[in-house]
C-alpha cells in the first residue's frame, strides 16, 4: 500500500499537537477543580484569530500570540461567570463552545482560501535531512517542541513544586484550601486563563501550520477529544501526551488508508481515531481506585467563600 512509517510519524506529531496543547491546558484547569467544557470554542476562536492575524501581518509568531490571547480572553469570560458570579460550570462551558463556534464563523468571513505565511523551523534543514530520525526529530515547527516541553513542565510543576501542590490542594478540597488562607478564586482564574491560552495556541497551530487554511468549524471536535483525553489520562500529563499521539497516529493512518483506497468504508476509518483512542485510554484507566485517587475531588463544584 506504500505507507512510509517515517512520514506517518511526522504526520502523527503534527496532527496530535493541537489536541495535545488543548488537553494539557485543560488538565491544569481541571486539577484546580474547574471543569471548562468550552475547550472547543476557545480552540476555534484561537484558530480564526491566529489565522487572521498571521495572514494580515505576515508573521506566524504574532498569529500564535493572537491565538493565545483570544483563547485567554474567551476563558476569562468563563472564569468571571463561574468563579465570581458562581454560574454553573457545565452550562457555561457549553455556552462558551457555542459562542466560540459562532464568533469564529463571523470573524473568518472572507478568509477561507487565504494563504498564511510559512513557518520557519528552528533546526537547520541539513539536520532534518538525516535519514529517519531527521524528519522525526528535527523537522517540525517550534510549537511542536514547545508542546512537549509544556507537558514536561506541567508534569514537573504539578508533581514537585509548591505551586503544583497548591493547585492540587485547591482542586482536592477548596474549603480546606480557603481555610488555610489560599486564594481559591485567584488560583482558579489563573489556571482557567492558562487553559484558554493553551487551547487558543492549539487552534492557531491547527489553522496556521497544519491545515494552512481557515475552514468553518475546522477543529471538528478536537476540543472534545482533548477533554476526554484529560479524563482518560487520569489527569496525568504524560498519559495525555500518549493519548494525543495515539489519536493523531490513528488519524494520520486512516487518512493514508483512505488515500490508498483500502476496502473499508470511509465512515469506519473516519471514526476510528475517536473509538480507538477512547478504548485504549479506558483500558489504561480501568483500575478504578487509583484513578479516583488522582481525580480532583472538587471538580466542577461551585466554591462560595464563607466566613
Amino acid at each position: 500500500m506504500g505507507i512510509d512509517p517515517v512520514t506517518l510519524i511526522v504526520a502523527l506529531i503534527t496532527v496530535s499537537t493541537p489536541v495535545l496543547l488543548a488537553a494539557i491546558g485543560e488538565l491544569v484547569v481541571e486539577k484546580t477543580g474547574v471543569l471548562n467544557l468550552g475547550v472547543e470554542g476557545m480552540m476555534i476562536t484561537g484558530a480564526v484569530m491566529g489565522f487572521v492575524v498571521a495572514v494580515n501581518t505576515g508573521s506566524p509568531t504574532l498569529g500564535f500570540l493572537a491565538g493565545m490571547a483570544s483563547g485567554m480572553a474567551l476563558s476569562l469570560i468563563f472564569g468571571v461567570l463561574t468563579q465570581m458570579l458562581l454560574s454553573n460550570q457545565v452550562a457555561t462551558g457549553l455556552a462558551l463552545t457555542l459562542f466560540g463556534l459562532g464568533l469564529s464563523a463571523l470573524l473568518g468571513v472572507g478568509y477561507p482560501g487565504s494563504t498564511p505565511p510559512p513557518v520557519s523551523d528552528p533546526f537547520p534543514a541539513a539536520m532534518a535531512e538525516i535519514p529517519v530520525i531527521g524528519p522525526i526529530l528535527f523537522g517540525h515547527s517550534l510549537i511542536i517542541y514547545l508542546s512537549v516541553l509544556l507537558v514536561a513542565a506541567v508534569w514537573y510543576v504539578l508533581g514537585y513544586t509548591k505551586v503544583g501542590l497548591i493547585i492540587r490542594a485547591v482542586g482536592e478540597n477548596h474549603d480546606a484550601a480557603h481555610a488555610l488562607g489560599y486564594k481559591v478564586i485567584r488560583i482558579r482564574l489563573m489556571a482557567i486563563m492558562f487553559g484558554g491560552a493553551c487551547a487558543g495556541l492549539g487552534g492557531a497551530f491547527l489553522s496556521v501550520v497544519r491545515v494552512q487554511n481557515w475552514v468553518d468549524g475546522m477543529t471538528a471536535g478536537a476540543g472534545w477529544i482533548a477533554l476526554a483525553l484529560v479524563v482518560f489520562a487520569s489527569w496525568k500529563p504524560w498519559r495525555a501526551l500518549l493519548g494525543a499521539y495515539l489519536f493523531g497516529g490513528v488519524t494520520a493512518l486512516q487518512l493514508r488508508l483512505q488515500a490508498a483506497g483500502i476496502n473499508i468504508p470511509v465512515e469506519i476509518l473516519a471514526m476510528s481515531p475517536y473509538v480507538i483512542t477512547i478504548i485504549v485510554l479506558v483500558i489504561m484507566s480501568s483500575d478504578k481506585s487509583r484513578t479516583a485517587l488522582n481525580a480532583p475531588a472538587a471538580l466542577g463544584k461551585v466554591f462560595h467563600a464563607t466566613g
Binding site: 509548591k162 501542590l165 497548591i166 492540587r168 490542594a169 482536592e172 478540597n173 474549603d175 480546606a176 484550601a177 481555610a179 488555610l180 488562607g181 489560599y182 481506585s289 479516583a292 485517587l293 488522582n294 475531588a297 466566613g307
Partner: protein, 513 residues
C-alpha cells in the same frame, strides 16, 4: 498567673445578616494557660476564633497580642504572628500525603525530604507518631488530627487554637491528646480550647469563658466548678436526663449474620462478617471512631447497599436483597448521619422531604399521584410533635438550623412507627436540649416495642440511651455487651484503643515515672 496577657480580646462584636454572632465579647489569655471557650452550638465560639485566626474581621472591638494591636486581615498574618489553629472539620486533603498536607499549611516549607525528617522529630517529641509518606485519606480520624497538630507545632506557635478536638477521638486518644497539650502548656504555649464537653474542660483547662447566644455569660475556673454549674451557665436552664421505665427485651426482630460489604469509594471501609441480633424493645448502641464502617453499616441496613438475601433477616424473613423502599414497607427506617443531601434533600421543602421517606408507610401517594394534603398534614405533625423551629412546612430543608433539621428527620422516621429504626449520629451538632429531646424520643420508641440501633461516636450518648453496646472497629463489630457493666476504659479498648499507640503510651508512662 499575672503580668501581660498573651492575647486580650476587648469588646468584640460581629453581626451577620439576621444574627449577631458575637456581642461585646472580652476575655484574656495568659502565657502558658489552657483557656476554655465553652458554649452550645450557635453560641458564637467558631466566629470568635475565626476572627482571632484572621478568617473573619470583627465589626467593632479590638484585639491585643503580646502588647501590640492585633487585627489579622488573613490567616497568613495570624500564623506569622504566632497563632495556629486546629480545625473542627479537618482542613486536610485526602488525596495528598501527610508531608504535602503539612507543607500547605506552612509559610516557607522546607524541601519534602527535610520536612519529612522534621515531621518525624516533632511527632516523636510530642508522642504523636505519624508517617509523612502516607496518604491522608488512609488515616484514622485520630491520625488526621495529629497531622493538623503537627502542622501547627512546626510553626512554633505562641497560641494554639483547638476547635472541638476530641469529638472524633477514642477515650485513649483523648488522653494522649491531653498529654500533648499539657506538655505544650508547660513549655509556655497558650491553648484556646473550644468545646462543649464539660468533663474534658474540667480535666484540662485553667480558665474558662462561657458564651451563650454570642455574649459572655460567665467566667470560671473549671477545676473548682462543677459540671452541672457550667452546664447551666452554658444552656441557661437545667437539663432533664433522658430516661425510661424498664427495658424488657422481646424476641429477636432483626438479625444480621455474616454481612461483608466492599466499600463503594476508595477511602471507604469494608464491612467484615458483621453479626447483629436486635430484640424488640432494645436500644443497641454501636460505638466507633468515624470512618470505621458506620456509613457502610447504615447503608447495608437501610438497603442502599443490597447483599445476599440471608445476611439480613426481619422476623426470620430474608431481606438482604431488598432496596430501601421495600424495607421501609416492612418497617425498617433509617436516619443517616449527613442531614443535608442524605437524610433530607436540601432544596426541597419539609413537605416534600416528608414525602420522600414516609410515602409507603403513611400512604401519601396513590397510584402514582401524591396526596399533598395528607403529606402536608404529616409534615406539620412532625414539626409539632418534635418542636421543630421553622416558620412553616413550606420552608426548604437547607434553611433550618442543624438541630432543627435533625429533629425533623428523626421525627419523620419515628412517627412512622417503625419496627426497626437505625440512626447514625442522631445528635451530631445538635444543642444539648434538642439532643435530650431526640434521645428521649428514641427511648420512647423502644418502650413501645421497636428495636433501635443507634450508631454514634458520642460515647456519653450511647451510655445514656443504649441497653447493649457493641464497637465497630475497622469494619468489624465486637461482641455485644450490656451497657450497664461497661466503663469508659473497657469501651476504649473495644473501640480498638488508640490506633497503634499502645507502645508509645507505655513509654510515656515510663518516662514520667
Amino acid at each position: 498567673m499575672t503580668g501581660e496577657p498573651l492575647l486580650s480580646i476587648d469588646n468584640i462584636t460581629k453581626a451577620y445578616p439576621g444574627v449577631v454572632a458575637n456581642s461585646d465579647v472580652s476575655f484574656q489569655i495568659q502565657p502558658g494557660e489552657v483557656h476554655a471557650l465553652l458554649g452550645e452550638n450557635g453560641a458564637g465560639k467558631s466566629t470568635l476564633v475565626k476572627m482571632i485566626y484572621g478568617l473573619v474581621r470583627p465589626d467593632s472591638g479590638s484585639m491585643t497580642f503580646r502588647g501590640a494591636a492585633y487585627a489579622p486581615p488573613e490567616p497568613r498574618i495570624a500564623r506569622s504572628t504566632g497563632v495556629a489553629m486546629v480545625f473542627q472539620h479537618f482542613s486536610l486533603f485526602e488525596a495528598l500525603n501527610v508531608a504535602e498536607n503539612i507543607a500547605l499549611g506552612m509559610e516557607n516549607p522546607p524541601p519534602q525530604r527535610d520536612l519529612a525528617k522534621r515531621i518525624r522529630e516533632v511527632s516523636e517529641a510530642y508522642g504523636l507518631p505519624l508517617d509523612p509518606d502516607r496518604l491522608v485519606g488512609d488515616l484514622s480520624a485520630g491520625e488526621r488530627q495529629r497531622v493538623e497538630i503537627i502542622r501547627c507545632l512546626l510553626q512554633d506557635p505562641k497560641l494554639l487554637i483547638m476547635d472541638e478536638p476530641t469529638s472524633v477521638l477514642t477515650p485513649q486518644e483523648v488522653e494522649i491528646l491531653f498529654h500533648t497539650l499539657r506538655k505544650l502548656a508547660a513549655e509556655g504555649t497558650s491553648i484556646l480550647y473550644i468545646s462543649h464537653k464539660l468533663e474534658e474542660i474540667r480535666a484540662l483547662c485553667d480558665e474558662a469563658t462561657i458564651l451563650r447566644l454570642g455574649k459572655v455569660v460567665g467566667k470560671c475556673t473549671p477545676r473548682d466548678t462543677s459540671a452541672a454549674e457550667m452546664a447551666e451557665l452554658m444552656v441557661g436552664k437545667s437539663l432533664a436526663t433522658p430516661a425510661r421505665d424498664n427495658a424488657d427485651l422481646g424476641e429477636v426482630i432483626l438479625k444480621v449474620s455474616g454481612l461483608s460489604v466492599e466499600p463503594s469509594n476508595p477511602f471507604g471501609t469494608p464491612l467484615r462478617h458483621i453479626g447483629i441480633e436486635l430484640h424488640a424493645g432494645e436500644v443497641l448502641g454501636i460505638g466507633g471512631v468515624a470512618g470505621n464502617g458506620q456509613d457502610e453499616l447504615l447503608a447495608a441496613l437501610s438497603g442502599e447497599v443490597t447483599t445476599a438475601p440471608g445476611t439480613v433477616t426481619l422476623h426470620k424473613n430474608p431481606i438482604g436483597d431488598k432496596g430501601p423502599n421495600e424495607r421501609r414497607e416492612l418497617g425498617i427506617l433509617c436516619g443517616p448521619e449527613e442531614r443535608l443531601g442524605h437524610a433530607a434533600a436540601p432544596d426541597m421543602s419539609l413537605v416534600e422531604n416528608a414525602l420522600l421517606t414516609a410515602r409507603q408507610r403513611k400512604n401519601l401517594a396513590d397510584s402514582g399521584f401524591v396526596n399533598w394534603g395528607a403529606t402536608r398534614a404529616y409534615a406539620e405533625k412532625v414539626i409539632a410533635d418534635f418542636d421543630v423551629r421553622t416558620p412553616g412546612p413550606d420552608n426548604v430543608a437547607r434553611s433550618l438550623s442543624g438541630g432543627n433539621l435533625q429533629k425533623f428527620v428523626i421525627g419523620r422516621e419515628i412517627l412512622q412507627d417503625p419496627t426497626v429504626l437505625v440512626v447514625n449520629q442522631p445528635t451530631w451538632g445538635v444543642d444539648a436540649s434538642a439532643a435530650a429531646d431526640i434521645r428521649q424520643a428514641i427511648l420512647d420508641l423502644a418502650q413501645k416495642g421497636a428495636g433501635v440501633i443507634v450508631i454514634s461516636q458520642d460515647l456519653d450518648e450511647l451510655l445514656e440511651v443504649s441497653d447493649n453496646f457493641a464497637a465497630l472497629n475497622e469494619g468489624r463489630l465486637s461482641n455485644v455487651r450490656t451497657t450497664r457493666d461497661l466503663t469508659m476504659e473497657t469501651i476504649g479498648l473495644m473501640l480498638g484503643g488508640a490506633h497503634d499507640m499502645h507502645d508509645l503510651d507505655e513509654e510515656a508512662i515510663h518516662a514520667e515515672a
